[in-house]
């Protein structure tokens, strides 16, 4: 017999592989075109390294409250509570929050007995640091979280598979997961911004959608004392560079090599 079952299977296999080669190659090579389109951005604030400087000397409790409220209400961040109205720390979603020094800066731990209670319990803002070398981006298996050329570590909710590797990788605890549907917990939906669905990770995005319109991030605008300053580190004349020249600053867990871009004047 000239052409038997074995030959047929061999040819079928080779055909299947060659038909599958193009989509596979596209999948591997496709994303390289993405970087090139960055130059074309009409109406988008162009920058290389967005960063924030927080002047903790000026920041009051009221400022903190206003900043968090502005951020969470603009972005439809759910406020998940337990039946007794306490915050549900198991499922909570927070992009911007405040905690005491020892928690926000454990590497600079002030856990010695001579500290006054006032200093020990002073609140410091914490958020995603949009690191220069983000471990979360390194570990994401689908590039659902990625670093934009303007420095923002962005989330693509459409692609996120909810594996939470980024949450394990973040040394700062900045990321939240939607353990359930967030919509019932959103106090007042902002119709101009989407919500998220269950099963995806979210975090501060440096208000990329506001930057696109030439506006400052919501938290920065909400703090009228100007304690939050936002700008481009690559521009020597920017407000953030100015502050870094004049003041002593610290960052969270700098020894980990992540290069965080949120600076704190203490």
């Amino acid at each position: 017999m000239g052409f038997d079952r074995r030959d047929f299977l061999k040819i079928a296999g080779i055909t299947a592989v060659s038909l599958g080669a193009k989509p596979a190659l596209d999948a591997v090579l496709g994303d390289t075109a993405q970087a090139e389109t960055q130059a074309l951005r009409p109406g988008v604030s162009k920058a290389e390294t967005w960063a924030m400087v927080i002047d903790t000397r000026k920041l009051t409790e009221e400022d903190i409250h206003k900043a968090i409220e502005a951020c969470h209400s603009e972005h439809n961040v759910p406020d998940i509570r337990l039946p007794n109205h306490e915050v549900n720390i198991k499922e909570e979603v927070k992009w911007l929050w405040a905690d005491q020094f020892d928690h926000v800066f454990p590497d600079h731990s002030q856990a010695f007995p001579y500290l006054s209670e006032e200093v020990e319990e002073k609140q410091f803002l914490a958020l995603c640091n949009h690191c220069t070398e983000p471990p979360c981006v390194r570990v994401c298996p689908t590039k659902a979280t990625f670093k934009r050329p303007d420095g923002i570590v962005m989330m693509d909710m459409h692609r996120c598979i909810g594996c939470r590797f980024c949450m394990a990788g973040c040394p700062y605890g900045s990321r939240s997961f939607n353990w359930g549907d967030p919509r019932p917990w959103i106090r007042k939906v902002n119709p101009k911004y989407p919500t998220r669905m269950k099963g995806v990770v979210e975090k501060c995005n440096f208000c990329a959608e506001r930057l696109a319109k030439g506006q400052f991030p919501a938290c920065v605008e909400a703090v009228e004392s100007g304690a939050l300053v936002f700008g481009d580190l690559s521009q020597p004349g920017s407000a953030v560079r100015d502050l870094l020249r004049k003041h002593n600053v610290i960052r969270r867990k700098p020894s980990l090599g992540t290069g965080p871009n949120v600076y704190y004047i203490i």
């Binding site: 689908t142 598979i161 549907d181």
Partner: protein, 392 residues
């Protein structure tokens, strides 16, 4: 050879039925979780990986242990393992399959799982983990099935199978190394940020997996006519002995580094696991049980009289499996997240749904294992009785 799964004893079918019921319950539990979201589990913003991922971690080790049968036989001609390499390979298959199922049930958006392959990301260890696990599973299916088929037809296995077997040996090491890399490269998690993570994973894999093989061998001997061979069991027990000692040694090294250096970040997770922090210590009794079982097992294994007694060995193997399951399946993953990056202690306890899904997946794995082993036993019964007949 599939038809061999359709005939069997009453015990066989009762066992399959029981497993099917458990799989059904697990499926219902998963459906609940799918529609409600992962808040049906005990995971939280701080402990974002828990029971599911820890089972994946443990089972990758069990899967890798097939190499402990394959390497001595194919590289060093250790004849006593010749009859049972296929049992190791057919243990690896459901083990890896369960790993992948555990990843699937842990995902927030499981329907998007193909994104991992549609958008390959070589810098992500999870991408590599998905790849090597899939390849390993297919390697073992193909190798095991082919070798078994050849035995049934009384022919020598073809050369290409030998090539695949030689590949599967370093591949087995790689699957567990890659899984260790998931943890060992994360800068924010001090308990995991250790070079010893991959060696420790491999050591505990080579203790837990062969222990399970010993248990399975003894079960097969009791309930079926198949005897894996006393020498095979003896050699497996020796492998387990050394692997367990190395594992506990490496574990001890972790303690030394953490406590002699006195660096808080390194100590905190171990303190949480073994003593509790601020009154939070739900895992403390588990960890001490695990360590105690491991040390008792080492003693029982080192003494030849107890190691060579099949009953005691069987109990020891169960103790080792449980001890290492606690170590990897509970202590390592959950402990890595506590305290959280802000030095707060937020504990984790699995929910009923989580446990039911886990049991369901284990039952599915046991089901596949039973079916595959049934095929092996039926084929070997035929071929070996054929050999005996031919010898007359």
């Amino acid at each position: 050879m599939f038809e061999k799964t359709l005939t069997g004893s009453r015990l066989y079918f009762s066992w399959l039925f029981f497993l099917l019921v458990m799989v059904g319950i697990g499926t219902l539990a998963y459906l609940y979780q799918y529609f409600v979201g992962l808040k049906a589990t005990g995971m939280s913003r701080d402990v974002s990986w828990a029971l599911y991922i820890s089972q994946l971690t443990f089972l990758v080790g069990v899967a890798a242990s097939a190499v402990m049968l394959v390497l001595p036989y194919y590289l060093h001609n250790y004849k006593a393992f010749g009859r049972i390499t296929v049992l190791g390979e057919f243990l690896a298959v459901p083990a890896v399959f369960m790993c992948m199922l555990f990843v699937f049930v842990d995902l927030g958006q499981p329907m998007r799982i193909m994104n991992v392959f549609l958008h390959p990301t070589p810098n992500s260890i999870l991408f590599w983990d998905a790849t090597v696990l899939n390849v390993y599973m297919f390697l073992n299916i193909i190798i095991g099935w082919t070798v078994l088929e050849c035995e049934r037809k009384a022919v020598k296995p073809p050369t290409w199978v030998k090539v695949l077997i030689y590949i599967s040996i370093p591949w087995a090491v790689s699957i567990h190394t890659v899984t260790a890399f998931l943890y060992a490269g994360l800068p924010g998690r001090h308990m995991w940020l250790t070079a010893v993570m991959a060696p420790r994973f491999l050591a505990s894999a080579f203790a837990a997996g062969p222990s399970l093989l010993i248990i399975l061998g003894l079960i097969l001997r009791k309930f079926t006519k198949f005897d894996v061979g006393q020498e095979a069991i003896r050699m497996l027990s020796k492998i387990v002995t050394y692997a367990l000692i190395i594992n506990m040694f490496l574990f001890g090294m972790e303690f030394f580094t953490a406590f002699y250096s006195n660096i808080p970040g390194h100590m905190h997770s171990l303190v949480y696991l073994f003593a509790g922090i601020h009154g939070h210590g739900v895992l403390v009794p588990w960890m001490w049980v695990s360590v105690s079982l491991a040390f008792i097992s080492i003693i029982l294994l080192v003494i030849p009289k107890t190691r060579n007694n099949n009953t005691v060995l069987g109990i020891t193997a169960v103790m080792i499996f449980v001890a290492l399951w606690i170590d990897k399946g509970l202590g390592l993953i959950i402990g890595g997240f506590i305290p959280n990056p802000l030095e707060q202690v937020r504990e984790y306890v699995p929910t009923a749904i989580e446990i039911l899904v886990t049991v369901g997946i284990y039952s599915l794995g046991a089901l596949i294992l039973t079916l595959l082993y049934k095929v092996v036993l039926s084929v070997k019964a035929e071929s070996e009785s054929g050999k005996i007949m031919a010898a007359h």
